[in-house]
Amino acid sequence: MMGVACSYGLRNMTTDDQLAIEFQQGSREAFRELFERYREPVYGFFRRRLENPARAEELAQECFLALLRNEARYEPRASFRSYLYGIAIHMVSAERRKSGREIELNDKTPDPATDENVDAALWVRRALDQLEKDDREILMLREYEQLSYAEIAGLLRMPVNTVRSRLFRARIALKEQLAPVQDKD
């Protein structure tokens, strides 16, 4: 269903997890390949959650460097994708704690690249901002990061059924907000 198109190209058919193991064994080529696969999704992850584009870029960079510095800590029992977004979630939480407040989404100016859909992007941001914090995170992890229910449950440390019910709740809430917009259209 839906989701971000995977624009990052695949050089070969090696899976992320295989690359992660090669990377752990010291292959810088494997790291480069993983970086190429995930640079846009990871940047998008931070950009959608942080107000400041420059800070989002810094944290995306830091995320890959943290991956590199902690290569020994990766355990193949979890998927590489979960591991990477785990680091990213941790960094966003730390960033929010440091800034001392929850990032407000509704007062932000849309990116120049989306100017032609400014209204639509603004609607989405405001709609997301009205969701409960956990519901919003679950919805974003599902819709933008394309994580499975189980992966989300693992990252947010909650049961899979809770993930499913909260995702349902978030989507219903968004649908309710979508209805007036559609009517206007």
């Binding site: 269903m1 839906m2 989701g3 971000v4 810088r28 790291f31 480069r32 970086f35 640079r39 846009e40 940047y43 998008g44 950009r47 959608r48 584009p53 870029e57 995306a60 960079q61 890959f64 460097l65 943290a66 590199l68 510095r69 902690n70 020994a72 941790h90 730390a94 960033e95 704690r97 440091k98 990116d111 120049p112 690249a113 989306t114 859909n117 639509a120 992007a121 609607w123 989405v124 941001r125 997301l128 919805l139 599902r142 819709e143 933008y144 499975s148 229910y149 499913r164 019910s165 995702l167 349902f168 989507r171 219903i172 968004l174 649908k175 979508l178 559609q182």
Partner: protein, 399 residues
């Protein structure tokens, strides 16, 4: 998205189906249902629409030098030695003052554990277990368990109930008896001991016989007979001869048994919970090893307690009878006496032996003390001899 109740699928399932998260069989059924149900197709379309609208939240592409900056930084990191402490410090700094508070708290807790001696592993697992409402008694002290146990305690459902041993239905008495019998016919009586015991369904635990020359023959036996047969068995024993001494004792072991039972139940519940923890929880290797050590310790306790319980139950089921069976001693004329020549020879051998012992004794005495005697004799005897000589000379000159 209100739905009529006649639909076999909830909207949440439709959503999960679109996400590819529905169980295959259910997904196939839902796919077939969507073919013929307009309402459910409508719901699915609404979910798709929501997802498509969310894609409007596009983000600008990253700056052109993003890739180069990351790869250059990565190259620098590559040349750095692994420095977990540095990375940790950065994360640590991100947490601000709370990190320091947490660190101090951890140090204090570790200090308390180290200096006060609180066991580190056991309480952690005990805490985890005590939160489980299904085993509320699992970690209560044994005394409180025994107090709650009582005779009316019945096996409950669940793990604990299945593991419970049978509860006593009345007071548990361990019976013992002791008999000293002078047998009318020793041979028949000693043979009857084993036969009588077997006929009552018991067994001989220990048997020692003594048949020294010049003494009456005796048999000491420890017999175990079913407690219910004890009275009849004692009556049969009394018929073997004249009873010189008899005593009986009843030792009530109910408290002991119930307490043991409760501790056993608690330990088994702990074992089950520990197994569940090991199966369901992941953690550091050392935690797992600690848990396995704890499990081994609990199993050791269970085996020991189970052994005690069986032993205690056996003491109750089988009475212990200590029997001393003695032959009435009759001195026999001439029997066992030696001939005169043998007695003379034995006396001569004894005399020679005594002489030999005496000579050796004197020699050993002289060797041990001879030099000392000579020395002190010289010290004391020579002046005495001179004094005696002077005394005699004076007497002679006086006369």
């Amino acid at each position: 998205m209100n739905r009529a109740t006649q639909h076999a699928f909830e909207p949440e399932e439709v959503m999960a189906y679109l996400d590819g998260e529905l169980e295959p069989r259910r997904a196939a059924a839902l796919a077939a249902h969507l073919e013929r149900c307009d309402e459910c197709r409508g719901i699915a379309a609404q979910f798709r629409q929501v997802s498509e609208r969310l894609l409007d939240f596009a983000v600008a592409t990253r700056s052109p030098n993003f890739d180069q900056a990351v790869l250059q930084a990565a190259a620098r990191v590559k040349d750095e030695p692994p420095d977990d402490a540095k990375a940790g410090g950065r994360w640590f700094a991100a947490f601000g003052p709370w990190a320091w508070v947490g660190a101090v708290a951890v140090i204090v807790v570790i200090g308390v554990i180290v200096f006060v001696g609180i066991p580190l592993v056991q309480p952690r697992f005990m805490t985890a277990v005590s939160h489980d409402a299904t085993t509320p008694m699992a970690y209560l002290p044994a005394n409180s368990l025994s107090a709650q146990a009582g005779f009316e305690q019945k096996a409950q459902g669940g793990v604990i109930g299945k593991l419970e041993a049978p509860q006593p239905s009345g007071p548990m008495i361990a019976q013992t008896a002791s008999l000293t019998i002078v047998a009318n016919n020793y041979d028949d009586a000693s043979a009857a001991l084993g036969r009588l015991t077997a006929s009552e369904g018991g067994y001989v635990q220990k048997l020692t016989s003594n048949a020294r020359t010049g003494e009456s023959r005796t048999v000491s036996a420890t017999l175990r007979v079913p407690a219910k047969q004890l009275d009849g068995f004692l009556a049969e024993l009394r018929k073997l001869g004249r009873v010189e001494q008899e005593s009986q004792a009843n030792d009530e072991v109910t408290d002991q048994y119930v307490d043991l039972q409760a501790r056993l139940k608690s330990a088994r519940a702990s074992e089950q919970r520990m197994l569940q923890l090991l199966q369901t929880r992941t953690g550091k290797l050392e935690d797992v090893l600690d848990a396995e050590r704890e499990l081994a310790r609990i199993r050791g306790e269970i085996e020991s307690m189970e052994g005690q319980r069986v032993l205690l139950a056996h003491r109750v089921d089988y009475a212990t009878v200590e029997v001393q069976l003695r032959e009435e001693y009759r001195e026999q004329l001439g029997a066992g006496r030696s001939s005169a020549i043998t007695q003379i020879r034995n006396a001569a051998v004894d005399g020679f032996g005594n002489l030999e012992d005496g000579v050796i004794g004197v020699l050993l005495f002289l060797l041990d003390y001879g030099l000392s005697i000579l020395f002190w004799s010289g010290i004391v005897g020579i002046p005495a001899w001179f004094a005696w000589r002077q005394f005699r000379l004076r007497r002679t000159s006086g006369k």
